[in-house]
């Protein structure tokens, strides 16, 4: 493992499997009456959130606390950041406070890379702009593995706004590393022009892909995109790319439906699909804590490796 987790591309196959195996062990902790381990006692984890994302912040906070780390929540709203303090000054402040790890959520792609150049501790990317969200991909892979076993050769279909999705980028990279076959399905306007160079297949036809899929992951589609002419209307989007009961009927019996949340019920996913037994949406939330515990343990649980990979 490297010192930081910024991109799913930072993870070798062995790294990724180590995280998932570690998460498998740690999952048992949440079944015990005492859900706490002493492992990161005395270590400080800062949750540095420049965007509102209560669910991700709480997930990281629970993960760090279950490992006995001290957690400092630094929300950009109402802090010196909103008064114009630069990311670098914020980084130096965290450094002075002795942060062993900084979990950063930022609206600008690449902000965690910049932060990693300014702090000594580990940087964990909790979502940067339209770039990546590697712990989401790890928890998704963890969820798939629990339902389906090994991901080698599994066919995963990711549907929706790939262009603006950090979840899609991290998932494509991690799933390719783990040997799954990924197909992206979206209107062409919501795919990067260079998607052909990604380690995955691309289709514009959801109905053709569904019967062959072991996993169908629906991405959130923001209604603002409609105003920028990425698609004409919600109704048309939903008709062509939404997952409703009729489409689910085309999936094979063991195939699962995933969504990173928050969902637009009735837009990209029908309510009855989201609440069906195929849906892993609630498991994904629980698995998020476990997976993030594994990441924090593997980054912080050992010797401080200094800047060896920087």
């Amino acid at each position: 493992m490297r010192r930081h987790l910024i991109s799913a591309a930072d993870l070798s196959r062995d790294d990724a499997l180590l995280i998932l195996d570690t998460a498998d062990e740690l999952a048992k902790i949440s079944e015990r009456s005492i859900k706490k381990l002493p492992t990161l006692r005395g270590r400080t984890v800062v949750n540095l959130f420049f965007e509102d994302s209560t669910r991700t912040r709480i997930s990281f906070e629970a993960a760090a606390k279950r490992l006995s780390a001290d957690v400092i929540n630094f929300s950009a709203k109402g802090s010196s950041v909103s008064k114009g303090e630069s990311l670098k000054d914020t980084a130096l402040t965290l450094e002075a406070m002795g942060a062993d790890a900084v979990v950063i959520r930022h609206g600008a792609s690449g902000a965690p890379h910049r932060l990693a150049g300014w702090v000594r501790g580990s940087v964990v990317n909790a979502g940067d702009g339209t770039h990546e969200h590697p712990t989401q991909a790890l928890l998704d892979a963890f969820t798939m593995r629990r339902r389906l076993g090994s991901l080698d050769g599994r066919r995963v279909t990711i549907v929706g706004d790939v262009l603006h999705s950090r979840v899609a980028r991290s998932n494509v990279l991690l799933l390719a590393t783990l040997g799954a076959e990924v197909t992206l399905v979206a209107p062409p306007t919501l795919l990067p022009v260079s998607v052909g160079s990604w380690p995955c297949a691309v289709s514009y036809d959801l109905d053709a892909v569904l019967p062959k899929s072991d996993v169908v992951m629906m991405l959130r589609v923001q209604r603002e995109r409609m105003n920028a002419a990425f698609f004409p209307t919600e109704r048309e989007y939903s008709r062509r790319y939404g997952l409703d009961r009729d489409r689910v009927a085309k999936m094979h019996d063991d195939a699962i439906v995933m969504h990173p949340g928050p969902m637009n019920r009735g837009m990209e996913i029908a309510a009855e699909v989201a609440d069906s037994p195929r849906s892993t949406i609630v498991e994904q939330v629980a698995n998020g804590v476990t997976t993030r515990m594994a990441v924090l343990y593997l980054l912080l649980g050992g010797a401080n490796l200094g800047g060896e990979d920087q």
Binding site: A108, S109, S194, S197
Partner: protein, 436 residues
Amino acid sequence: MSVKTSVTTVIKGARILGGEPADILIDGGVIAAVGPDLTGDETVEAAGLVALPGLVDLHTHLREPGREDAETVESGTRAAALGGFTAVHAMANTSPVADTAGVVEQVWRLGLAAGHCDVQPVGAVTEGLGGERLAELGAMADSAARVRVFSDDGKCVSDAVLMRRALEYVKAFDGVVAQHAQEPRLTAGAQMNEGAVSGRLGLTGWPAVAEEAVIARDCLLAAHVGSRLHVCHVSTAGSVEIIRWAKSKGWNVTAEVTPHHLLLTDDLVEDSPVGAYNPIYKVNPPLRTRADVEALRAALADGTIDVVATDHAPHPVEDKETEWAAAAMGMIGLETALAVVQEAMVETGLLDWAGVAERMSYAPARIGRLAGHGRPLEAGSPANITLYDPSVRAQVDPSSYASKSRNTPYEGRSLPGRVVATFLRGRATVLDGKLA
């Protein structure tokens, strides 16, 4: 203002445009003679050095007035002299914008006072670079600054009617509109070249077509109204094709390329020694692909692109030590321009030193209508001379730069060559690599 001296200077043994060694005798700010065994009151040893006509930059941001924290006319022209330049065109996107005779004259006077090189102000095409109403182009042309190049650089004159009018209007005083070609709707929020790297990095793409579409339109407009068009900082292979086509029609279109677009590519944003997403590589237009770089080099070699212009764009540290999207766009370039051109064009065999002189002195002076610059190194020409040692190679160390800003993308990179001396009308502005 330089005081004419009666002292004569002889430059001994310089290779004029890289040719055989010869002496250059300077008297009264003018080249008095070129030949063997000349003598003068003072001697500058130039054995092994290449003598070039003083370089002329068509595209410099001196930032004064308004952003004196980034650069001033004084510091920027020091950097220019150290880079071998004897004249620079100061872009209009200052604060206030250089859109009146008053502002262009202020910049021109600051240049005179500094005395390191001639400062030729560029006038804004539209009021406040707003893209809505023409600025008083004639007043700027008629001012003491004698403005001939007009540009909204930093912004595109995207309105087709306004661009047509500007192209037509400047014909009255032999002006030229230098267009920053960037279709604004196609580049809303754009961060870097749209391609494989932007897709992976999740940075909003800046498509080549946003530049090419405007260049195509402007070439057609220039042809239609019979005016001169200059295209700033061409960055894509497609733009090269369009300009080549326009020139083949005999239209009066010229174009420039920056040194950084001749050397650097967009993959540096993802993978470089200074880390991913380092805004030191954030520039407008963005760094493009290897194929674009190859096309730009070929176009500069075959004359499709007329000029190398630095687009020297100083920014203070705090505007670059940020997350990518928040960072300012631009790179400094005056002090590395000749080195980068040597690396990209001369070392590769694409240009000889005569070709460099054409593209960095003669052509920019012609396009900017600078009568006293871009003259061949022969008797009777103003003694604007750059002495350059192409045989050395060193690591770029920005701490030594005269520019107030340090936003060079070449820090730590090894580049060839060294400007040894610069003469502005016979007076040394740089000697032995230092300001004289």
